[in-house]
């Protein structure tokens, strides 16, 4: 995965903290995915202006553990979110009403 790609939350997803758990809603499917604590922190960092590389670096700074393992985990998490349509990638910063929300 290219570290220079910008990452944004998908247009039809929203996130709420319910009972201390981050829940992502896929509007079309009316289905909620709940994230664990570490995943929630990464999710919160995704704002359309952050790059894949930033997310990896921030995770390495914030979480204990082997650097390579953290990097692989972040990438596989992003891939999983992308497959579900929860995030999108772009070579440019994301603009418009959905930016940073």
């Amino acid at each position: 995965m290219d570290a220079n790609l910008f990452v944004a939350k998908g247009i039809n997803v929203s996130c709420r903290t319910i009972n201390g758990t981050s829940c992502i809603l896929f509007e079309d499917k009316k289905e909620v995915v709940s994230l664990n604590e570490t995943a929630s922190i990464i999710w919160e960092m995704i704002n359309g202006a952050t790059k894949v590389g930033d997310l990896i670096q921030e995770s390495i700074n914030n979480f204990d553990g082997d650097r390579i393992f953290i990097e692989k985990s972040v990438i596989s998490f992003l891939e999983e979110l992308s497959t579900e349509g929860a995030i999108v990638f772009s070579l440019e910063k994301f603009e418009g009403v959905m930016k940073n929300v």
Binding site: V32, V33, S73
Partner: protein, 351 residues
């Protein structure tokens, strides 16, 4: 490390945790139509300010709300209505708009599409222009609503046509279904004309005749048919309606209700936080204690499995939140005659 992703049913999760996951917001009572069956008892309230709605949406997000339905009156009588929609979308609330469509400009439609509004519901009462306009009491309203639907569908917006069935339009069901199909919209019917919010039941004289009601229920576009009941009369712990746990409605003055038909106020968002009202209001807490075991008539009712009773309507029309709802009974009897079981799981639902 990040792989603990669990998929859950949002309504069930919200029900267990008392999260107002889907909230209806009436942004005004002003309207440019004068529909004969309208449930509003006044058309004067202009709604809260944009700033107050922004604050409310922030509170909703914190309370766990995902879905917001924006309605009126006619919401587009507010010049700033699209700013309200934008404010909701900025907070990633999934927005559905209820409108008559007659006031939508080209720009509104293009903005609705750009903001990824989930659905727009437009009220159409007949395929016959004269009948529709006689119900709205506004000549030319049919054409305007239909042209708005066309323009929205063209922009890729999900449009649902909504039609409450009554004496004047009950024989038009099949034509309405065909018209919706040709427009590229979904179609949804309602079988009950309710009392006005102040309890005035003069609207009941518009209701379908018993024969029309039976015929309508038989129509596959009006009610789905299932073979096994989703109700369990023996489960005394089931709740009369989920909306008191995972719903919510807010009127133009900021009063909070369990839903727009259950008009008992739990607090006002201009004075208190929405999430706090939802979780802590004494009156809502008391409503949450009501269980099927408290509805003595329903527990022994022979047509229980066919009933789609609304506690709000039972209170509004029959003055007893635990009693039989005459409106629900009428529909349930028609369902029993036709053997059509209701699919609504939020009514008499397991907890």
């Amino acid at each position: 490390m990040f792989s603990e992703i669990k998929i859950r049913d949002i309504t069930d999760l919200a029900k267990c945790l008392i999260v107002p996951v889907s909230v209806l917001v009436e942004v005004c009572y002003t309207c440019n139509e004068k529909c004969v069956h309208c449930c509003l008892d006044n058309h004067n309230q202009r709604g809260m300010s944009l700033k107050q709605y922004e604050m409310l949406f922030d509170q909703m997000v914190t309370a766990g709300t995902f879905f917001v339905i924006l309605t009126g009156g006619e919401p587009f009588t507010r010049k700033d209505f699209m700013d309200i929609v934008r404010a909701a979308r900025k907070r990633r609330l999934s927005v559905t708009i209820f409108t008559n469509g007659t006031l939508l400009s080209e720009k509104d439609i293009s903005d609705i599409a750009k903001l990824f509004v989930q659905d727009v519901h437009v009220s159409i009462y007949s395929t016959n222009e004269k009948v529709h306009d006689s119900i709205t009491q506004i000549p030319g309203s049919f054409r305007k609503s239909i042209s708005a639907i066309r323009a929205m569908v063209k922009e890729g917006i999900n449009v649902r046509i909504k039609c409450p069935l009554m004496l004047a339009n009950a024989n038009d069901i099949s034509n309405l279904v065909k018209m919706a199909e040709s427009l590229g919209a979904k179609m949804q019917f309602a079988t009950t004309i309710t009392a006005r919010n102040d309890g005035d039941i003069s609207t009941h004289k518009l209701q379908m005749s018993d024969r029309q009601l039976v015929k309508a229920i038989k129509h596959s576009a009006v009610s789905e048919n299932i073979s096994v009941s989703v109700r369990d009369k023996d489960d005394g712990n089931s709740v009369p309606c989920d909306t008191i746990l995972n719903g919510g409605a807010i009127d133009p003055r900021g009063n909070v209700f369990p839903c727009n038909q259950w008009r008992i106020c739990g607090g006002n968002v201009l004075h208190d936080n929405f999430g706090k009202i939802w979780k802590e209001s004494e009156v809502f807490t008391a409503f949450r204690q009501i269980r099927l075991r408290n509805l003595v008539k329903c527990q022994t009712c022979e047509i229980f499995n066919y009933c789609t009773r609304c506690p709000g309507l039972a209170l509004l029309e029959d003055n007893d939140i635990c009693g039989c709802s005459a409106s629900a009974k009428k529909v349930a009897e028609a369902r029993m005659i036709t053997g059509t079981l209701p699919t609504q799981r939020h009514i008499f639902s397991k907890i």
